[in-house]
Amino acid sequence: MIEELRNKARELLKTKQVEAVIGYQRASDGLSAIPCVIRSEEEAGRLIWDAACVYNLCGYLKDFRAKKLGIVAKACDVRAMIVLISENQLNRDDVFIIGMECCGVVDEKRARVSGRDGSDISSADKCKSCASCVPLAYDCLIKEKREKAKVSEDADKDKYEPVRKLEAKSLSEKSKSWKDEFKRCIRCYACRQVCPMCYCPRCVADQFMPVWFSKAGGIEGNFSWNVARAMHLAGRCIDCGECERACPVGIPLRDINRKIEKDIKELFGYEAGMKTDAKPFLACFDKNDPEDFIK
């Protein structure tokens, strides 16, 4: 599979179909994978592919505006690209998607401490409920060879069960637990920096006219930031889980994202990142949208 990927990259660079290929290379620790940009055929040997290739690389695409690029992409990464295309941030013709059939990536956080506690690192939470190993769109597909890629065993289960459990808690429990989570937020904005959907020239959190919410640490400001982030991802988040992975204080951000994702799917039948010509969820409406909450 890796050789196939490298050959494809060489071919794309040689025939000048792309100016560069964005992919993964081995990190100096010899285990994890980090992003790399391959600009020549000779460099293509650096490319790797395995369960360590956790990152969503779409974020790098905007650094190469209007250049033809190749990108190594999993199913979830491609959904992010679909949102970016629908939001006029990416031109489909400017990108050559090397689609990777994917059996799930490792849980990076647990992998860091593996060996110490011996816990299962085989797949990240987001992969456990993932139903698609083949990307929705690609220009070439590199198939899994070592074993037939299969949909995660848990995929049939209610994907939103963890969210439902949280919903079922009492108001005061929810209030307390989220306050405890948000208290820890250090407003480093790693969640924003890593998010493929966060491309605003200047984030509301950084604006001064007006100041949308307190920039200082403190529960009000932290709460506001996390709600603002979540609302700005409503109908756009494709649950790549990068925000939660990047969060240095371990706030369960995916729980919030998935809560909104669930509501949008159940109430409005909308899913992000499925069609390139989809209208943004919050920029459209249906005359029959539910309004039982309105007096």
Binding site: R65, A66, E87, N88, Q89, Y199, C200, P201, R202, C203, V204, Q207, M209, P210, V211, W212, H232, K279, P280, L282, A283, C284
Partner: protein, 662 residues
């Protein structure tokens, strides 16, 4: 920044519940507030002079007026500020009357709330920006929806001023309700005699276009530039070829009951609704026409009729005619869609509408008309015999909150009196009985008219309700009470005429939504101000006339029609239209070009534009507002995650400042 706060007593409307002096004293200490005072009537001339003087003497650069709702005097105070040399958009209104003094009784609470309201307004004004009005061109044409007497009068007035005007009428002829009346109160001119010349005037005017058999399909745009889609239903007769000779309907073999005549008479399947129709061009009723029923019958095996086509010497009959959608632009719209009659079948006491000899006023009009289905005879529809004893019942549907509408329909007392008079004129032996609750005859010569009907025409007026109506021995028995004498009354009548109220047409809601104008709980269109702007709507460029706004008689309909025409002409006479600058604005540096605003704008007022970004050294797309089209609704500002787009006058900074001051 020097903010001035001006607090109005509004006589005692505000000061009775709000301690205005306290408000002045507390708000004068707010940051940036330089001056604060009260006055008895701030909107009066001396009040405005006081503001102007304070602006000049105290060097104020923005003001807050604490008074009534901004819908009433925001414009007044903006103009006042402008005259004193302040940009008119540096003025905010604190609504301490409708939202405070009129809804609270406790003076302490109301005063505290008023202070809060003023604080919010001060916060907002501190973030106001001077704005400059923009101007948009005006399409110098008027659309009139509805071709009744109101629509016709409006068209005549506008055409007189030599501006093009288009009437869109649903029926095959203009004329509306009035064309169906016999005589008109209180002067008893014949309706046709005074309406027909007006219909001819509009039809012959070079400035008037009439679309009959037509309806409004879609309205977009805004004052000065309404884009209207009109559906012209297939008439099946070519209006340009037809000469109105009438050979077709003389020959047509199909007879159906005539809606125009309240189903008291018959018409053909190809017909003109009444002899004076404008245009005098027949229409084919495709439901009943043999040619169409044969064509629609399975396989088309039935032999088609086609007589009208054969007889027409001018080739005007066109069975293949299709509905046509035309799109036109107008600068102003006058709504003249009129009314419909209340359906009395909800009343058990009046026989649920099942007795043939219990009819409505409009039936009576058709019978009384010499060109009507009975040739001017007042008959019993059940057996065609001339009616002698006729009972009139007023307030059917009107003034009845349970089953009808809560309001008085205004014209029923008068038309019933007229009917009682006409009855006597048509048949000297006849006797009219009128059951009424109150007589409302407030109009020039109206009371005199009712008196005359009672005194000279011997109509018997009985104050009271009818409790039951039933058929017995070929007569209609009417039971009721005369509350003045306290007597129970039973009348053996030949005919009962119900004065059914005027109600909104069922399609008004759909039309209101198309035009973005409000309607009330009775589905009557709402005027911009009940007293001071009775023919305007809150949507600028759209005006109301006639009974679609509230029940009106002919003089009132004509008066409001001319009033609406003047308002529309006033618009058209401008070179260009002043437009409030409260519209969206894009900060290109913040815009990511994600197109969410373009998708979400209800008016298609946002385009994408490619610009050269020097910093990024590449071309990129940004949003651009089409100023003439933007209405300032602000939906774009919320779909924009980066707040690159904002609304002047209701900007993010202004609103956030208000929230801060809560």
């Amino acid at each position: 920044m020097k903010i001035g706060v001006f607090i109005c007593h509004c006589g005692t409307n505000i000061s009775a519940t709000v301690d205005v002096e306290k408000v002045a004293q507390v708000t004068s200490k707010l940051a940036k507030v330089h001056f604060s005072t009260t006055y008895l009537y701030m909107c009066s001339n001396p009040g405005q002079e006081l503001i102007k003087k304070a602006i000049k003497e105290k060097g104020l650069d923005r003001i807050v007026v604490c008074s009534c709702s901004p819908s009433l005097h925001e414009k007044t105070f903006r103009k006042c500020a402008e005259e004193a040399g302040i940009n008119p958009y540096l003025v905010e209104i604190a609504n301490i009357r409708e939202h405070c003094s009129w809804v609270h009784r406790d003076k302490k609470e109301a005063t505290l709330k008023a202070i809060d309201i003023v604080r919010l307004a001060v916060a907002k004004v501190s973030r106001d920006k001077p704005l400059v009005k923009t101007y948009v061109p005006i399409e110098k044409r008027v659309l009139i929806i509805g071709g009744g007497i109101s629509g016709i009068q409006s068209a005549i007035d506008i055409a007189f001023a030599k501006y093009p005007v288009t009437i869109v009428e649903r029926e095959s002829s203009i004329g509306g309700r009035m064309a169906r009346f016999d005589k008109t109160f209180p002067t008893l001119d014949c309706a046709a005699c005074i309406l027909t010349p007006k219909m001819v005037t509009v039809s012959q005017s070079q400035y008037v276009t009439i679309y009959t058999c037509s309806e409004i399909e879609e309205v977009s745009g805004h004052v000065g530039d309404f884009k209207v889609k009109i559906r012209k239903r297939a008439r099946s007769v070519d209006i340009n070829k037809c000469t109105g000779c009438g050979a077709c309907y003389a020959k047509c073999p199909v007879k159906v009951s005539a809606k125009f005549d309240m189903n008291l008479g018959l018409r053909k399947a190809i017909y003109v609704p009444f002899p004076q129709a404008v245009p005098n061009v027949p229409v084919i009723d495709r439901q009943n026409c043999l040619w169409f029923s044969a064509k629609n019958a399975s396989g088309g095996t039935k032999k088609a009729c086609g007589l009208c086509k054969k007889i027409c010497n001018f080739g005007a009959i066109d069975y293949d005619m299709q509905d046509e959608i035309i799109e036109e632009k107008f600068g102003a719209i006058i709504v003249a869609t009129g009314f419909t009659q209340f359906d009395h079948s909800v009343y058990g006491e009046y026989g649920y509408g099942k007795y043939k000899d219990v009819v409505t006023g409009l039936h009576f009009e058709r019978m009384a008309s010499s060109s009507g289905p009975t040739g001017g005879k007042i008959i019993r529809p059940s057996d065609g015999k001339e009616a002698r004893d006729v009972v009139f019942i007023q307030c059917v549907g009107s003034r009845d909150e349970q089953k009808g509408v809560p309001y008085c329909s205004r014209i029923c007392c008068m038309y019933t009196a007229k009917h009682a008079l006409l009855l006597k004129e048509h048949n000297k032996d006849a006797q009219a009985y009128v059951f009424y609750i109150d007589i409302r005859a407030a109009g020039k010569n109206y009371e005199e008219f009712v008196k005359k009907v009672q005194d000279e025409y011997g109509a018997i007026y009985l104050r009271g309700r009818v409790s039951r109506i039933f058929e017995k021995g070929g007569k209609i028995i009417v039971r009721g009470a005369d509350t003045l004498s306290g007597a129970q009354i039973e009348i053996k009548a030949d005919l009962v005429v119900l004065a059914t109220g005027l109600i909104a047409r069922p399609e008004t809601v759909k039309l209101a939504q198309m035009l973005h104008i409000p309607y009330d709980q009775n589905r009557l269109f709402t005027e911009a101000h009940p007293k001071l702007a009775p023919v305007e709507t809150v949507t600028s460029g759209i005006f109301l006339t006639g009974a679609c706004q509230s029940p009106k008689d002919i003089p009132d309909s004509v008066a409001t029609a001319s009033a609406a025409s003047v308002k529309a002409l006033g618009l058209l006479l401008q070179d260009k239209l002043e437009k409030e600058p409260l519209i969206a604005k894009v900060d290109r540096n913040l815009c990511s070009g994600c197109r969410a605003c373009v998708v979400a704008c209800p008016f298609n007022a946002i385009d994408m534009k490619e610009i050269e970004d020097r910093a990024l050294k590449c071309k990129r797309d940004v949003a651009e507002v089409v100023e003439g089209v933007c209405t300032g609704c602000g939906n774009c500002t919320v779909v924009c995650r980066m707040s690159a787009i904002d609304i002047e006058g209701f900007s993010n900074r202004q609103i956030m400042e208000e929230i801060e001051a809560l």
